[in-house]
Symmetry: C2
Subunit: 327 residues, 2 copies
């Protein structure tokens, strides 16, 4: 849309990243944007390969999401899941088959069907993701951070009966509704590597933006892959991060509690401590203006601007601010 | 319902078998009935394990089918399949991902989800099938003929562009709407064996009935498994078959054409030729009374009775006739 032809790579989790990308695409050509997306939340349910962050971004950018519910597709129906309740009643002890806690809408299923079938044909997740983006008419480049199996594992804390147990991210996030304390987060990668396209985008982009996503479980998995932090460090001056913490709280999800549980100050200063090694600039919300000095003290240049993207125009302005910060 | 406590094993394909079983359960206790069901049509689509004959029988006996459409569940919706069309448009050349020719209803999907997830947990198809039958409140014993991978492979005949090609049964039956001639049918079993429960049922049942299913692609796969024909032969006097051919035609599906294409007379006499080695009695419809002598000439005792189960009561009468024939 604007005259810029600077290429921009964005490190992405789910909803926060999707909203930032929506704003970004209002101010730059989609062809200049590469989204590098977390796959640590990916899971297999009912035999289907599910990539929640990729789909959240795709559906959001396609304008297909149910904005009132805040997730899933507009006009969605839930007939398959409703029918699954019959089987949940008969499954034998110890079986976790047919989980009904992970609600898959009927039309959303088509995306998982396509992804699963293409992967079974031997296509890479990178290829399938490009096809899905094309099916939804998206102009940006969408890249899963890796084509390898790669999973976020959460150790439950607190004193509940599941304390100490390691669970998948979806178990923690959806089944337990992120209502349980976390004592550790790790990433199972068994040799997983970023794709060549991701490595190339991180090197060649004129600007890298770390989207306002959970630093631990959305951006953390990307940074855990070999070479990503090194690539960011080597170009730290042109890496801008946006704080997902506003006024000491996460706008969505458990980032604030999770930071505190893992010993990180749940404030923009705490976020700055996490990102200072790999990004030169932290964009924080105006409500946190009083913390700008603490961000600078943590070693990052601080930019203060509205970041809450629930109103029209904020995302585009935020994107412009990021582009300016890097110049 | 009746006072009989004779145990009955029924060799089953899909729709014809389901209707016969429905009649049988009107006249005997469900606990005395074991359905031994073809799995040669089973397939994996979108990562989901699909067992068409097992599901047809389950849904029919549960009274859950759409009788007007003749298949699938009553009140079914098709939102997932409709959404899949978006992906069919972008799939690359040569990809068969996201086939939209195999129409899976939204609530039917729940059965495939459950089966797929339980198999992934390591449960046998036999165990999963029992759980699904329980979920639908069925009292009979439902047994897949094997827990092993086992597939019907059809060679296409005629002079079309696919002539000579080997395809899966679903490819032939659903994608090509069984509108293409067949030059060969074989079964890929790679060491597949009947389960112990099946072998036991075939030995211990007081009566074995071969349901009015396609002799080639529904009953054929069962008979191709090691030991089944031997078990039937050794108790041939108490094995009764019901002809799926009525007046020279199949009531449903391509059995008549398929028999002719494979060099078998598409008549009750042709069916008798196929079943004579393993069954002592063939039940044929009244319209075929004139062929009774030909059936006897083929080596089977012939019983003539109404077999078209589209009217209420016919299935139950047919079941009574089978029970009587064996005494």
């Amino acid at each position: 849309m604007s005259g810029t032809s600077a290429s921009i790579a964005v490190l992405c989790g789910g909803v926060g990243a999707a909203r930032f990308l929506r704003g970004l695409l209002e101010v730059v050509d989609a062809a200049d944007v590469t989204a590098i997306v977390n796959t640590g939340d990916d899971t297999v349910l009912h035999g289907l390969s599910i990539s929640p962050d990729l789909d959240t971004i795709t559906y959001t950018l396609a304008g297909a999401t149910d904005d009132e519910r805040g997730w899933g597709l507009a006009g969605e129906t839930w007939n398959a899941m409703a029918a699954l309740a019959r089987y949940a009643e008969v499954r034998p002890d110890g079986s976790t088959a047919a989980p009904t806690w992970f609600n898959l809408g009927d039309t959303d299923l088509a995306t998982h069907f396509y992804r699963t079938a293409r992967l079974a044909e031997g296509a890479t997740l990178t290829a399938v993701t490009a096809e899905i983006a094309q099916a939804w008419g998206l102009g940006l480049r969408m890249l899963p951070v890796t084509d390898d199996r790669f999973r976020t594992v959460v150790t439950l804390g607190g004193d509940g009966h599941e304390a100490g147990r390691e669970v998948t991210f979806q178990d923690y996030f959806v089944r337990l509704r992120h209502g349980v304390p976390v004592s550790d987060v790790r990433f199972e990668h068994d040799g997983a590597e970023p794709t060549a396209a991701v490595a190339d985008a991180l090197t060649s982009a004129d600007l890298v933006v770390i989207a306002p996503s959970n630093p631990i479980v959305s951006i953390g998995p990307l940074r855990a892959l070999p070479g990503i932090d090194e690539a960011l460090r080597s170009r730290r001056d042109s890496v801008v991060a946006i704080s997902p913490i506003v006024g000491g709280a996460a706008l969505k999800g458990p980032a604030d509690r999770m930071l505190a549980e893992l010993g990180v100050d749940p404030s923009v200063a705490g976020v700055a401590g996490l990102y200072a090694p790999v990004a030169s600039t932290l964009v924080i919300d105006t409500v946190d203006a009083g913390h700008a000095q603490a961000v600078e003290a943590a070693g990052m240049h601080c930019v203060v601007t509205p970041t809450i993207m629930s109103q029209p125009g904020v995302g585009a302005d935020l994107a412009r601010t990021c582009l300016r910060s890097a110049r």
